[in-house]
């Protein structure tokens, strides 16, 4: 899994964090991380669900890889040699979660607004050749190769048929899906997810030991190359700060603690 490192058997056979383990979400552009304590998984025993077709609605305008721009001909169909961004990005299947319309949750089924919860989502897109790109927040491209933005419209910067990410409170994510096959495809989406009850860890002793891998943890790389203002604001809103700087070699623990104390919210 590209975004997950298991430091000490913290992941189960589904790739989800076990109960009562630490979970780190690392933010590469800032070299900061949040440390959470996973108190429990709300959906133990039913982590796998079949979403159905990708949320591509009939008539959605797509962009052609070779200029032939097509529209989505029927729900869940990716036109040949085209890429599209579903709007809303990931509504819940109505029969699964009848959430009120025009809410954030109606647009993105994993939206929530609580500091003591996190989602880990693993998306498996069928057919597997479908190019997939995650945008945090929607419309904001995140994948760069050596300073240049990439994405499903380009030769690099996407995965085929798979996405893996952590959902933070207050945020909606966007997706772009591309089909570079010469025929239109009926898509499907299966999701393995963990809905975790978590506590944000601010005890510097624990944080230091987790971030230096002396305590076992699941280490998730948040798939962004820059932190959008929206994302930054939500972190401040829910956690009061934007994460702890990860200790680097050569910096003493006391030096790191001085830095970390400055990062914690006051009061």
């Amino acid at each position: 899994m590209p975004f997950v490192y298991d430091y000490g058997k913290a992941l189960d056979e589904l790739g989800l964090v076990k109960d009562n383990y630490y979970m780190v979400v690392y933010i590469p552009p800032t070299n900061k991380a949040f440390v959470f304590w996973v108190k429990g998984r709300v959906n133990s025993g039913y982590e796998v669900f079949h979403y159905g077709p990708l949320p591509l609605v009939s008539g959605l305008q797509c962009t052609g890889y070779t200029g032939n721009n097509l529209t989505v001909p029927a729900t869940g169909v990716l036109p040949p040699a085209n890429y599209c961004s579903p709007t809303p990005p990931l509504p819940p299947p109505p029969q699964l979660m009848p959430v009120p319309t025009n809410t954030n949750q109606a647009n993105f089924m994993f939206y929530f607004d609580s500091a003591d919860k996190l989602f880990q989502v693993r998306m498996f897109i069928k057919p597997r050749w479908v190019r997939a790109e995650l945008q945090v927040p929607p419309g904001v491209e995140q994948v760069q190769i050596n300073g240049y933005y990439e994405g499903v419209s380009k030769p690099g910067g996407w995965a085929r048929g798979y996405l893996d990410f952590i959902v933070f409170p207050g945020l909606t994510y966007g997706f772009v899906f591309g089909n570079d096959m010469v025929f239109g495809v009926l898509t499907g989406l299966d999701i393995i997810y963990g809905e975790y009850n978590v506590s944000l860890v601010t005890d510097l002793d624990v944080v230091y030991n987790v971030l230096t891998h002396q305590l076992p943890s699941a280490w998730f790389v948040f798939p962004v190359t820059h932190v959008d203002t929206t994302v930054n604001n939500e972190w401040v809103e829910y956690y009061g700060f934007t994460g702890f700087t990860v200790p680097q070699p050569g910096v003493s623990r006391s030096q790191w603690e001085a830095t970390a104390r400055g990062e914690l919210p006051r009061g």
């Binding site: 070779t66 169909v77 010469v182």
Partner: protein, 148 residues
């Protein structure tokens, strides 16, 4: 749980649109969205997506008379969809010697790699008599399988 490699094994049905002594087999598979109107129709030329491999694991041929089926490759197969005429080279030939069915599983697959996103395959048939054969071909698309 390694997800950097993506695999999709599809069975394509290949059919002749009319009885003839030679022709191209049109391909259809279960994930294909077909309405009967272009571009949502079965395809005569299968272009392999950019950077992927197509592995042909098996072919089944059914015909009411003896028939030869060939797997053909073109480096510029995608030009078919812009009005061009790809140049084809035969990779594999299978002969059904008499009316009936021939099922072949390859010990090692026929592997075709897309380097530019333009490479592709077609399946053609030839017979001494006018026939309308059907084939089924198992093709695995693989992405991220990098040889070191």
């Amino acid at each position: 749980m390694g997800m950097s490699v993506a695999r999709e094994l599809k069975t394509f049905s290949g059919f002749a649109t009319a009885a003839a002594t030679t022709g191209t087999l049109y391909l259809y598979t279960s994930d294909m969205y077909v309405t009967g109107s272009t571009p949502y129709v079965p395809i005569p030329v299968l272009v392999i997506p950019y950077g992927m491999k197509a592995k042909i694991w098996g072919i089944r041929i059914a015909s009411t008379a003896a028939v030869t089926v060939q797997v053909q490759f073109s480096p510029n197969a995608s030009s078919y969809y812009s009005g061009g005429t790809p140049s084809w080279a035969t990779l594999d030939t299978e002969n059904l010697a008499s009316p009936g069915e021939l099922a072949i599983e390859f010990r090692r697959p026929i592997v075709v790699t897309s380097k530019y996103g333009t490479e592709g395959l077609q399946f053609v048939f030839a017979s001494a008599s006018s026939v309308q054969p059907n084939i089924a071909v198992d093709i695995e698309f693989v992405w991220g399988e990098v040889e070191e």
